[in-house]
Homo-oligomer: 200 residues x 2
DNA sequence: AAACATACATACAGAAATGTATGTATGTTT
DNA sequence: AAACATACATACATTTCTGTATGTATGTTT
C-alpha cells in the first residue's frame, strides 16, 4: 500500500495517464472506470477517491495539458504587434512543430475533437474556439489597419482561413499520418500568408 | 398497428431519422435504443425487427446518404480530364454548396467525424478518406504531367492542401456557423487553386 | 377462409457499469 | 503512543441497457 502524499500524487497521475491513453485508443464511452483503474494499477476505490466521476476526470485531464491552439494564443500574445501576419505565420508553425512531437497533446486533441458529443466537453471546445478565433481576428484587424491585409479579405475571412488550415492540418495528420506535419504545414502556411499579405 | 409494406418502410425510415437526429445531438454512445425507438414512435420490438443492433443501424445510416466527400468523388469522376485543377475547384465548390443546405448530410458528417472512436466506423472513414485522397492525388498527378501544377508542390502535397481545406471548412462551419460556407469557401478554394496553378 | 408470414408490442433475463458503504493498513499529528 | 486522517481495497446495491423470447393483430397467400 502506498500512502504518502507523493505516492498519492503518483496514483493521481497514473490514473490520468491511463485514462488519456485508453480514451484516445478506444474512445471515452467505451472505456470503463474499472478498465482505467486496472490500467493504472489500482482499483475503482482509488479512482473514486481522486475523482468524483468520469466527467470530473475529463475536466482534470483537460486542465493538465495545454491544447495546441491554446499555445497559439500564448505565442501570439507574448510577441510584439509589428508585422501581425508574420507573427501569425510563425506562431502557427510553432504550433504545428510542437504538436508533431508532443504525444500527450496529440492524445488530448484526439480525445476532445472526437467529442463534440458530450455537452460539457462541447462547451469547453466552443468557448476555446471562440477565444482563439477572436485572437486571430484581432491580429487580422491590426494588419488591416496597417494596410498589410490583402483588401480582398476581411479580417473575419482571414481568421477563418487561418483556423481552418491549422485545425484541418492537425486533424488530417492525426488521422492519416501520411505527410510531414511541420514541413508541409510550414509550406502551406507560408503560401497562404503570402496570399493574405500580397496586395496583388 | 401498421402492417403493410409501405408502413414498414416508413417505420424503417422513422427509426433512421430519429437515430440520425439523436446521434448528432447527443452522440452515439449516449443515445439508447429505447430512446431512438420512442422518438420514432415505436418500441424496441420494432427496432430489433428492422436492425440487428446499434452497429447494424449505423451501417444502414451510412449507406442511406452520400457523404460530402463521396460527392466530390462522383463529381470529379463524371467530368473530363482537361484542366484537372479547375475541375477540382468546381467539384470542391459544389461539395460546399450542397453541404450548406443539406441538413441530412450535415448530421451524417457530424456523427461520423465525431467517431474515430468505434473501430468499425473508424475503418469506414479511413477507407473512405484513402479513396478520396487517391482520387485527388490522381488529379494532381495529371495536372503535373500536363505542366499545370506549380512545381513548388508535389501531387501529394497538393492533395493534402485540398483535403485539409475542404474538411477544415466543413468541420469549422459545422461547429461555429460563423461564416457563409459556400461564399467564403469558394473564395478560399479559388485563391488556393490559383496558387497551385500559377508557375509563379 | 384457412393457413401462414409479417410487423410489431410486451415481458423477461442477464450482463455490465456505476455509485456508495464499509473495512483497513499505513501515515500524521499531538 | 494514542488518536485521527489519508489513501486506498473490497463488497454490495442499484441502475441501465441490451438481447431474446413470446404474444398478437393484421396483412398475404392459396
Amino acid at each position: 500500500m502506498r500512502r504518502t502524499k507523493e505516492d498519492s500524487e503518483q496514483t493521481w497521475s497514473a490514473i490520468l495517464d491511463a485514462a488519456e491513453r485508453l480514451f484516445s485508443e478506444k474512445g471515452i464511452a467505451a472505456t470503463t472506470l474499472e478498465t482505467i483503474s486496472r490500467a493504472a494499477g489500482v482499483t475503482r476505490g482509488a479512482f473514486y477517491w481522486h475523482f468524483k466521476d468520469k466527467s470530473d476526470l475529463m475536466a482534470a485531464m483537460r486542465s493538465r495539458r495545454t491544447l495546441p491552439q491554446q499555445e497559439l494564443l500564448l505565442l501570439a500574445a507574448e510577441r510584439g504587434h509589428e508585422d501581425p501576419l508574420g507573427l501569425l505565420e510563425i506562431a502557427g508553425h510553432e504550433v504545428l512543430a510542437t504538436f508533431e512531437v508532443d504525444e500527450g497533446q496529440q492524445r488530448l486533441f484526439r480525445i476532445f475533437s472526437n467529442h463534440g458529443e458530450d455537452s460539457e466537453v462541447a462547451g469547453w471546445i466552443a468557448q476555446h474556439d471562440r477565444d482563439v478565433f477572436d485572437l486571430v481576428r484581432g491580429v487580422a484587424e491590426r494588419a488591416q489597419q496597417v494596410g498589410m491585409l490583402n483588401p480582398a479579405f476581411a479580417p473575419d475571412e482571414a481568421a477563418v482561413l487561418m483556423l481552418v488550415t491549422i485545425n484541418g492540418l492537425l486533424s488530417e495528420w492525426l488521422r492519416s499520418r501520411s505527410f510531414p506535419l511541420s514541413t508541409l504545414g510550414r509550406k502551406i502556411l507560408s503560401v497562404q500568408m503570402s496570399l493574405l499579405k500580397r496586395p496583388q
